[in-house]
Every structure is written in structure tokens, then in C-alpha cells.
């Protein structure tokens, strides 16, 4: 049974229709990469999954919860969906450790001692175990994104959403983040990733979905989509980003 089901999703900003009827499913443990030109609606699609955006039509079901139904307990839903942003969005007034312990204790009711243990463990896993007491502004972009990933993982989500997690990073820093994400994918996490990193798609993704103009244009096995796109728009995009 799929953990994410999207059926005929329509999303409009005023008069601009950004998503024009998206339907797709993601199975537990699957890693799906969303690619496409900017404005194609892939980030918006991700944000509809945890209710950061409202939708106009269609159904979104995540972990058996109908996200946009009137009575949905959004807090309960969001505890099960982790999200990593392009701009990290760490809380600048809290240390790296507090960035993890605050939501764990306040939103999930975990004891402070347990939260601290989780923070220590996860920060070590993402390679910044020595930065517990540091404030985010004193970290590099790559370190900030590592902390943000640890913060999302600390909630023990069933699904992880990555919205262009390496787009704001210097090229030499993206590799480390992508490696963490690949390890996470290998460990069986369900991941929906918006990215332009085709190497990541090839190595870590089970499936790639190419979007343009608010619709799914083409989907399939990542290498097939990158090396041998069937649709003209996919072909153009792959040429533009310099692969193929």
C-alpha cells in the first residue's frame, strides 16, 4: 500500500494555476526525485504534502491521513513528515542542539534528556557532532543543512521531503549533503526529493518524475529518464542542465 497517494491535485495562486491535476503514488521506502524547470510546480507539490500550501481540488493522502480534509489533525500529520528546506531555516536564536531538542520536547513531548541524547546521536551521524552548542549563524551552509536534516530526522518521520536541499550551497559542499541523503535512502527512508542533482537521482533514487507546467510529463527509472528521455520537454531540460 502506498504511503503517499496524490489524486488529481490542483493548486492555484490567485489566477496562476501551478499544479494542474497531479496524480502519483509513492511506496514505503521509495526515493523519488522530482525534476523540472523552475516554476514547474515541484516545490509546491512537496509543500502540499504537509499542508504548508492549501489546495483547490484533489486528494492528498500521506500515511493514511487525508491531508486537506477539514478535520485533519495537522500537528499529528506533521510529526510524521520531515521537511528540509533550500534555505535551511534553522532557528537562529537557538543552538544547534536546541534546534533539535525544542521541537522534540515541545511538539512531540519527548523528555529533555531523551531529546538531548537524540540530538547528540543524530548530529554525530550527519558529521557535526562537535557543533552542539554553536549557533547556526556560526556554521557554514553545509553544516547548517546537516543540522536541519538532523532536526527533521529527530522527529522520526515516516516520510522525508527535501526541497532543493543543495541549491543554496557552494558546489564543494553539496557532495556531503547528497551522501547523507543517499545513506538515508539506503536505510529505507521514504523520500521525496526536489533537486537538480542528476548524479543523486542516478545513484539514490528508485524513480524520477519530470514535471513541467504543473503536470507530470514523464516518469521512470532515473538513468533511463536522464539518458534516454522520451518526451521532448524532458529532452530539452536534460540538455539545458548539461547532461545527455
Amino acid at each position: 500500500m502506498p504511503i503517499v497517494s496524490i489524486l488529481d491535485l490542483h493548486k492555484r495562486f490567485d489566477h496562476l494555476e501551478v499544479l494542474k491535476g497531479i496524480s502519483l503514488e509513492v511506496d514505503p521506502g521509495e526515493t523519488v526525485v522530482f525534476a523540472g524547470p523552475s516554476g514547474s510546480g515541484k516545490s509546491t507539490l512537496l509543500r502540499c504534502l504537509n499542508g504548508l500550501e492549501k489546495i483547490q481540488r484533489g486528494t492528498v493522502i500521506v500515511d493514511r491521513v487525508n491531508v486537506h480534509a477539514p478535520g485533519t489533525d495537522m500537528l499529528d500529520l506533521r510529526r510524521r513528515i520531515g521537511m528540509v528546506f533550500q534555505s535551511f531555516n534553522l532557528f537562529p536564536h537557538l543552538t544547534v542542539e536546541q534546534n533539535i531538542t525544542m521541537p522534540l520536547t515541545k511538539a512531540k513531548g519527548v523528555s529533555l534528556a531523551q531529546a538531548k541524547a537524540a540530538a547528540k546521536d543524530l548530529l554525530a551521524k550527519v558529521g557535526i557532532g562537535d557543533k552542539l552548542t554553536v549557533y547556526p549563524n556560526n556554521l557554514s551552509g553545509g553544516q547548517q543543512q546537516r543540522a536541519a536534516i538532523a532536526r527533521a530526522l529527530a522527529m522520526e518521520p515516516k516520510v522525508m521531503l527535501f526541497d532543493e536541499p543543495t541549491s543554496a550551497l557552494d558546489p564543494e559542499l553539496t557532495g556531503g549533503i547528497l551522501q547523507i541523503m543517499k545513506d538515508l535512502a539506503d536505510s529505507g527512508m521514504t523520500m521525496l526529493v526536489v533537486t537538480h542533482e542528476m548524479s543523486f537521482a542516478r545513484q539514490a533514487a528508485d524513480r524520477m518524475i519530470f514535471m513541467d507546467g504543473g503536470v507530470v510529463v514523464e516518469e521512470g527509472e532515473p538513468s533511463a529518464l536522464i539518458d534516454n528521455p522520451q518526451n521532448e520537454r524532458t529532452r530539452q531540460f536534460m540538455q539545458q542542465i548539461g547532461l545527455k
Partner: protein, 222 residues
């Protein structure tokens, strides 16, 4: 006038202002500003949250306070409220006028500081399953306070200076004591020089504190 004589006059003016004016001025400043901060915090928060109806009403209040001369507000409260059977003495009227006036400006500082927190902070807090109240309490407000504190300290100087206006409704605070003294000793230069130094001695440290705070908090954010 002989220098020794001037010094003597200055000292007696100083003593009188200190004894009769300073307690009232400081009471007006402290009580008025504490109330102003309560008003400013509540009004700023309500307007930030865009609570329907209440938000619009409070906007009207803020616009009135910002768009009318402070002296007129003092007169209005002092002379008009009794017609509605609301009787306040001069001190109560002055505190009310000062706190309503400063409160409006403070509410704009509070609202602006809350609105200055980037959208991404709200989104990250939402995505981490924090409730609206917890997002405000643990993510938005703590950051907004750091932005609001320096201008709030600066605003308190304006508040202290405004206390001199209420001498007009026969309240014996520093400025009124000085004016009465001047009328009997006929030494405006010495009298108002003493008054000026006394106001400055209070306001200047607050000004320095505000700019120090600004630098400290700016350094922390960088």
C-alpha cells in the same frame, strides 16, 4: 550676577526640583512606560495576528495617537472625560495620556518586529509540528524581542521627555517646579540650565544603553 550667587541659586533650584519634581516625573515615566509596554505588547500582537474587528479598532487607536499632538491628547483627557462622568486627578490623567501615547508607538515597534521574522521561520516551525501558539512562543517571539528591544529603549527617552508636557495640567513635575522657581528668582538661564542638565542626566544613559543594546544584538545576529 556674581558666580557664587549663581551657584547658590542653581543649587537651591536643583534641590527643589529633586525634592518636588523628580519623584513625580520618575513615577510618570516608570508607571506610564510599564503600562505603555503592556498596551504596546498586546496591541502589537493583536495587529500582527490580524484578529478580525479588534485589529481594525486598534489600528484606529494607533492612528489617532500617532496623528494627534500629545498636548491635545492630554487636554482631551483632562477636560473632556469629566463630561462623561469619568473623573481622574491630574496624575492619573497624565499617566493615562502618556501610556496611551507611548503604547501606540510601542505597538508599532512590536508589530514591526514580529513581522520582520522571515517566512521560512514560520514554515520550518509549522513543518516541525509546532502549534500556532508554540510557534509564537518558541520561534517567533524570542526573535522579535531581540529586534524590538533597542527601539523600545529608545522610545522610553521620548516618553521621559513627554512627561514635561503634562506640567500644563498643574502637575508638579520637574518642568513645573523649574518654571515656578524661575518666576520667583527671575533667573531663567540658571534655572533652566539646571533643569536641562537634570533631564539630560536621566535621558543620556538610556540613549547610550539603547545604542549599546542595538550593537550587542546586531552582533549576535551577524
Amino acid at each position: 550676577m556674581h558666580p557664587a550667587e549663581a551657584l547658590h541659586t542653581a543649587f537651591s533650584v536643583f534641590k527643589l526640583i529633586l525634592r518636588e519634581g523628580v519623584p513625580v516625573t520618575l513615577s510618570l515615566a516608570v508607571i506610564g512606560y510599564v503600562l505603555a509596554m503592556l498596551i504596546g505588547g498586546c496591541v502589537g500582537l493583536v495587529r500582527f495576528l490580524r484578529m478580525p474587528v479588534l485589529s481594525q479598532l486598534l489600528r484606529g487607536y494607533v492612528d489617532c495617537m500617532r496623528g494627534l499632538p500629545f498636548l491635545m491628547i492630554v487636554f482631551f483627557l483632562y477636560y473632556v472625560l469629566p463630561f462623561f462622568s469619568i473623573r481622574l486627578d491630574a496624575f492619573e490623567t497624565a499617566v493615562l495620556a502618556l501610556s496611551l501615547h507611548s503604547g501606540a508607538y510601542l505597538s508599532e515597534i512590536v508589530r514591526g518586529s514580529l513581522e520582520a521574522i522571515p517566512f521560512g521561520q514560520h514554515e520550518a516551525a509549522k513543518a516541525l509540528a509546532l502549534s500556532p501558539a508554540k510557534r509564537l512562543r518558541y520561534v517567533i517571539a524570542p526573535q522579535a524581542v531581540r529586534i524590538a528591544l533597542p527601539p523600545m529603549a529608545g522610545q522610553s527617552v521620548l516618553h521621559i521627555k513627554d512627561t514635561s508636557v503634562v506640567s500644563i495640567i498643574a502637575l508638579t513635575e520637574m518642568t513645573r517646579v523649574a518654571r515656578v522657581q524661575m518666576q520667583s528668582n527671575m533667573e531663567p538661564l540658571v534655572t533652566f540650565a539646571v533643569l536641562a542638565v537634570m533631564y539630560f542626566a536621566v535621558c543620556y544613559p538610556v540613549l547610550r544603553y539603547a545604542s549599546g543594546l542595538e550593537q550587542k544584538l546586531a552582533a549576535k545576529r551577524a
